[in-house]
């Protein structure tokens, strides 16, 4: 006789499997919550940083620029943007509302940061380089992905470069205002704004350097420094060999 089917076993197996499955989903959920929580905490930190920068700026308005430097601007923005990109790429689906909220908040922080930076530039004639970048999703803007490769690369190469990126689909009134100020046409994305001039369409690394001549200057200084250091090591080397 063939062993009869043990219905209870099939059911018990199902229950155990479901419990394990649900357990895994639960753990995953907790981790996701924590991720979003972390992101929120960073944003709060940035908001605090900005507020303190603004206050510092106001305090210093009357005095000299000597004490004001780039450090008063929040340095956390870049790390936040990487984390948001990660969340966006690995979004499990049900968190998208929260993600949109985080992105909106991030956009506002960027705008505040850029305004503060502008004031700082005017007052102290220091020249940190900042670029506004407007992008859309893949459907509206197939070239945006390529553009973001270029910008990520530039940001890695030039830590002084600040890139403020704005998702035009976010439906945020502040972004809409920015769009109208710089006359950004959403049909011609990606768009770059530098020194109040806007440029649309994909821009290669070289084109970006033409738009932002400061980057070329940095290249030059770097080349010079390199030359100098190689000269100095070679002279050091020759002097040691001479002394022998």
């Amino acid at each position: 006789m063939r062993q009869p089917i043990d219905k209870n076993k099939y059911i018990i197996t199902f229950i155990i499997t479901a419990i394990i499955f649900a357990g895994m989903l639960y753990i995953n959920n907790i981790l996701d919550e924590k991720r979003f929580g972390d992101t929120k905490a960073i944003q709060d930190q940035i908001a605090l940083d900005l507020l303190s920068s603004e206050t510092q700026f106001n305090l210093l308005k009357e005095t000299s620029c000597k004490n004001v430097n780039g450090s008063i601007l929040s340095k956390e923005l870049n790390s936040l943007s990487t984390k948001l990109t990660y969340l966006e790429a690995n979004d499990a689906g049900n968190k998208s509302d929260e993600l949109v909220y985080l992105k909106k908040y991030y956009s506002l922080l960027q705008i505040k940061d850029s305004l503060l930076m502008k004031q700082l530039n005017q007052k102290c004639s220091s020249k940190p380089i900042s670029v506004l970048y407007f992008y859309g999703d893949k459907k509206d803007c197939p070239a945006c992905e390529d553009m973001s490769f270029v910008l990520t690369h530039l940001r890695e190469q030039y830590p002084d470069l600040r890139i403020y990126s704005f998702d035009t689909n976010l439906n945020l009134s502040a972004i809409e205002t920015l769009k109208s100020i710089y006359k950004i046409d959403v049909r011609k994305l990606p768009a770059i704004v530098y020194n109040d001039d806007s440029y649309t369409g994909f821009k290669s690394i070289d084109e970006m350097k033409n738009i932002i001549p400061e980057l070329k200057k940095i290249d030059k200084t770097r080349a010079l420094e390199k030359e100098r250091s190689s000269v100095s090591t070679s002279t050091e080397f020759s002097s040691t060999s001479d002394s022998r």
């Binding site: 006789m1 063939r2 076993k9 197996t13 995953n28 991720r35 984390k83 690995n90």
Partner: protein, 414 residues
């Protein structure tokens, strides 16, 4: 598309998990029986006459060792016969086996080449013993193997008993991979045996009652996997196939990736096509756990793995294209891609946890399989090779087998 795949992935993982939980529950259920296993060396067991068929085709190098290992079995000499059937070898196999011609235990037969199943049928027709088995000329038996199997035949419902297979001296990476895989096989076969759901009576040393062949018929070509078809046929006739986990048989696994690939294409393709031939069993409660769970799951897992593979190839290709695009735009630069070890970026998704769970069950099965045979295994770390390599190479034969099924082609033996 994404949503469809996510749904599919979760269902797939759920089913895999269900299967694993089912196996483990079965193990827990029978644990006591397994530990206090019946042992043939308790001389109470009956010792019926046995013929072991050794079908050979160009096996001059290994056949003598195979026959010697059979003659060395701990079993009464007047009850054990070895029947060598030369299936038209072109090499010196026939000359080599002549050294046994004066041994009353060894019977030598030669026939025209017709394929392994014809050699088996030829031997079955000529044998007179109560039990009959087969041992391929690339396999060797542990001297206690047969005696461990005998007690299971005390149950008159049992038509066939399968052994535990191990890899002979796994001295290469590929050998280690197979060694771990076979250990897992020992575990799975035992559990399937307990569930009355074995769907293979492995070529190496499965023992049958001879009368069974007159009841269910002789071996068939069966897409070059006659051992699989025979098991399904026995199941179809509701005969019992049980497993003697302490009966150990060593087999020489393929030594090159190409040969392994050929073997697995034959096995996987044979499984798919034979299961299609016996599709009436699928989801049919008349066939117990085999029909309701094991066969449907095995077929589902093949289909699932295929889809999974397609998705992985698709993701890999899109990422590769993206990366090439990126390199095209920004050029190649080393220094700025520092790795960040922040927990935030670790991909700890549900799939990751479920995957980790599935892998731990696989590891448990390998370990338990080693333990079951009661033979100390020198290669305790073969599972590492298995985990690293198996998932990379198994898609090779999976794809070919499925393709062969679609175009209805049988895989070649060699």
């Amino acid at each position: 598309m994404e949503l469809l795949f996510t749904t599919f992935l979760y269902t797939f993982l759920f089913v895999v998990l269900y299967f694993q939980v089912f196996l483990i529950l079965t193990l827990v259920e029978h644990k006591e029986n397994l530990d206090a296993t019946i042992d043939g060396s308790d001389t109470l067991a009956r010792k019926p006459s046995v013929t072991i068929i050794v079908p050979i085709f160009n096996e001059e190098k290994t056949v003598v060792k195979t026959v010697l290992s059979l003659l060395d079995l701990n079993y009464p000499k007047d009850k054990l016969f070895v029947m060598v059937v030369d299936d038209g070898s072109k090499d010196s196999s026939w000359d080599v086996v002549q050294q046994f011609k004066d041994n009353p235990q060894v019977l030598l037969h030669k026939k025209e080449n017709g394929g392994k199943y014809t050699a088996l049928n030829y031997a079955i027709e000529h044998a007179t013993s109560e039990l009959i088995g087969c041992l391929d000329a690339d396999s060797f038996v542990d001297s206690e193997a047969l005696i461990h199997m005998m007690p299971y035949f005390d149950n008159p419902e049992v038509a066939a008993v399968t052994p535990s297979l191990k890899i002979q001296n796994p001295d290469s990476i590929l050998g280690m991979v197979q060694s771990a895989e076979y250990s897992m096989g020992v575990f799975t076969r035992k559990i399937l045996g307990l569930l009355d759901a074995q769907y293979v009576t492995p070529g190496p040393f499965s023992i049958f009652r001879r009368e069974i062949f007159s009841k269910v018929g002789m071996y068939k070509h069966a897409h070059n996997t006659e051992d699989l078809e025979m098991a399904l046929r026995l199941q179809d006739h509701h005969y019992k196939i049980t497993n003697a986990h302490k009966a150990v048989v060593y087999t020489v696994g393929p030594r090159t990736l190409y040969k392994l690939y050929k073997q697995r294409v034959r096995w996987t393709g044979g499984f798919i096509q034979n299961t299609i031939d016996y599709k009436k069993m699928i989801l049919n409660p008349k066939y117990g756990n085999l029909g309701l769970l094991i066969l449907p799951l095995a077929m589902y897992s093949i289909a699932g793995s295929m889809l999974f593979l397609c998705y992985n190839v698709y993701t890999f290709a899109t990422n590769a294209i993206r990366e090439i695009e990126r390199l095209n735009i920004v050029g190649f630069n080393w220094d700025f891609h520092a790795f960040t070890f922040e927990w935030y970026f670790y991909n700890l998704q549900t799939t990751f946890f479920l995957g980790a769970f599935a892998i731990s069950v696989v590891l448990f099965a390998i370990w338990y399989g080693k333990r079951l045979t009661g033979i100390k295994d020198k290669h305790s770390f073969d599972f590492v090779y298995f985990l690293l390599i198996y998932s990379l190479i198994s898609p090779l034969w999976l794809v070919t087998s499925v393709y062969n099924t679609i175009i209805k082609r049988d895989a070649a033996w060699r």
